[in-house]
């Protein structure tokens, strides 16, 4: 299957197979007014299967979201059809307003203007906890 190369934008590569739709949602790409291609289960020499996402516009992409969903993903910045930058993404220490705390007893459940902030508490297992109530994200 072929998807045309993009001219200016971002290619997120090496997404763990199956993670692309979650990434699409958290990056709020449903609200983006530009072509976005998601390739699921592409063949990968390293990973066996992987997902790829191509965003055909020069829009800001939240690297923290990518690092949270899939710290192994790579982000390629494309200008005039040429890759000008390749970034590997690690797990961010803090996540702000990416996910919401689900604990009904948390202060964020009643005070709507508070930012939902999660801190990485276990890098090995990729565990994030709400900074207010310590509920797992």
């Amino acid at each position: 299957m072929n998807i045309d190369s993009i001219q200016n934008g971002v290619v997120i590569d090496h997404i763990t197979a199956g993670n692309s739709m979650r990434l699409y949602d958290l990056l709020k790409l449903d609200q983006a007014d530009c072509p976005v291609a998601i390739i699921k289960n592409a063949v990968s020499r390293k990973m066996g299967k992987k997902d790829i996402m191509k965003i055909d516009a020069d829009i800001p992409v939240d690297l923290d979201v990518i690092g949270y969903v899939d710290p192994g993903a790579t982000v390629n910045v494309i200008r005039n059809g040429v890759r000008v930058e390749k970034k590997t993404i690690g797990m961010p220490e803090l996540l702000t307003d990416v996910i919401r705390c689900k604990n009904p007893r948390c202060i964020t459940a009643t005070e709507q203007e508070l930012h939902h902030v999660f801190r990485l508490t276990d890098r090995e297992r990729g565990v994030y906890r709400c900074v207010y109530c310590e509920t797992k994200g």
Binding site: N103, R105, C106, I107, T108, A109, T110, E111, E113, L114, T121, D122, R129, C130, V131, Y132, C133, E134, T135, K136
Partner: protein
């Protein structure tokens, strides 16, 4: 601005220093009677409390300071929908230090992030209650002489019991601790406390539902109340509230120098008949709480340059 929201905001060296100060306050109260003259503590208690609020207030009075008090969310602007941030920004204009209790978890952190004076968490929902832990630690230190090598049994509601989580966090930083976790299945210690604290630090622990079988091995027995206010479902509360009731009969096989602690209030989980047993230390714990709060108020006001 330094605040204390979680017991882990204090290093073990600072806790040891607070214990030393509290010990000195007990010995020489007159030396401390004027240290906070002209300073004000605001106690903002948006959830019912007798001990903690009065303990903070007594602590400030014994340091020669004054107290401004809001007791009950329905008597303050919180009832009108004022945010925690706005409340503490306002109170910072009147007071030198704030002690706050709030039913929502994390409310104390929001307060600390917005106040311009130190904030002490007097309990934020089921999350943290660091000054209770300070009272527990002083009591254990005074009764047992230290923390190393102790077997500490925690009994009752280990799921929602914030004092239990804080105490485990604090004690796990000392060497050779061992924990026995005694609770009904539904109120077991949350896995994140087990994984992040006990397993990560390789601290030995045992889980059981049977208090009687483990009581002979304990140096400290920390009883807790099954808290009605933590349940969304009254039926679950009624089913679990009488899981453990400590009686003189059950204490027969316990060590003679075991110490029984309870953060109070109790409902019926420790029979009144236990109160006369020399191992019952929960009213000493109340008194110790005041001394540790005095030591903490002093430490934070000194760090803030207020005294």
């Amino acid at each position: 601005m330094r605040s204390v929201i979680d017991i882990l905001d204090l290093s073990t060296a600072e806790i040891d220093e607070l214990i030393e100060t509290a010990g000195d306050i007990i010995k020489n109260p007159a030396n401390y009677a004027e240290l906070c003259r002209g300073k004000k503590l605001a106690t903002l208690f948006f959830e019912p409390s007798t001990r903690t609020r009065l303990s903070f207030e007594a602590a400030m009075y014994e340091l020669g300071g004054n107290v401004l008090s809001v007791a009950g969310g329905n008597t303050s602007s919180a009832a009108k929908g004022e945010s925690v941030a706005d409340t503490v920004k306002t109170v910072s204009c009147y007071a030198d230090i704030i002690a706050m209790r709030h039913p929502k978890e994390g409310a104390a952190l929001v307060a600390a992030n917005n106040a311009s004076v130190p904030v002490i968490n007097g309990g934020d929902g089921g999350h943290c209650h660091p000054t209770q832990t300070l009272a527990d630690l002083l009591t254990i230190r005074r009764e047992k002489g230290g923390f190393s090598g102790l077997t500490v049994g925690l009994c009752g509601d280990l799921k929602f019991g914030r004092t239990v989580h804080s105490l485990i966090n604090a004690l796990s930083r000392y060497e050779n601790m061992r924990f026995v976790l005694i609770s009904p299945e539904e109120l077991k210690l949350p896995s994140y406390v087990k994984n992040d604290v006990l397993k990560r630090k390789n601290i030995p622990y045992e889980q059981t539902t049977d208090l009687l079988s483990v009581i002979p091995s304990l140096d400290v027995l920390y009883m807790t109340r099954v808290q009605r206010e933590r349940f969304f479902n009254e039926e679950d509360y009624l089913r679990l509230k009488d899981s453990y009731i400590l009686t003189p009969e059950k204490l027969k096989t316990a060590k003679e120098d075991m110490c029984v602690l309870h953060p109070l209030p109790r409902v019926n989980e420790i029979s009144v008949a236990v109160d006369d047993d020399p191992r019952a230390c929960y009213f000493k714990q109340v008194k110790n709480g005041k001394y540790m709060r005095m030591a903490l108020i002093l430490m934070l006001l000194k760090e803030a340059g207020t005294i």
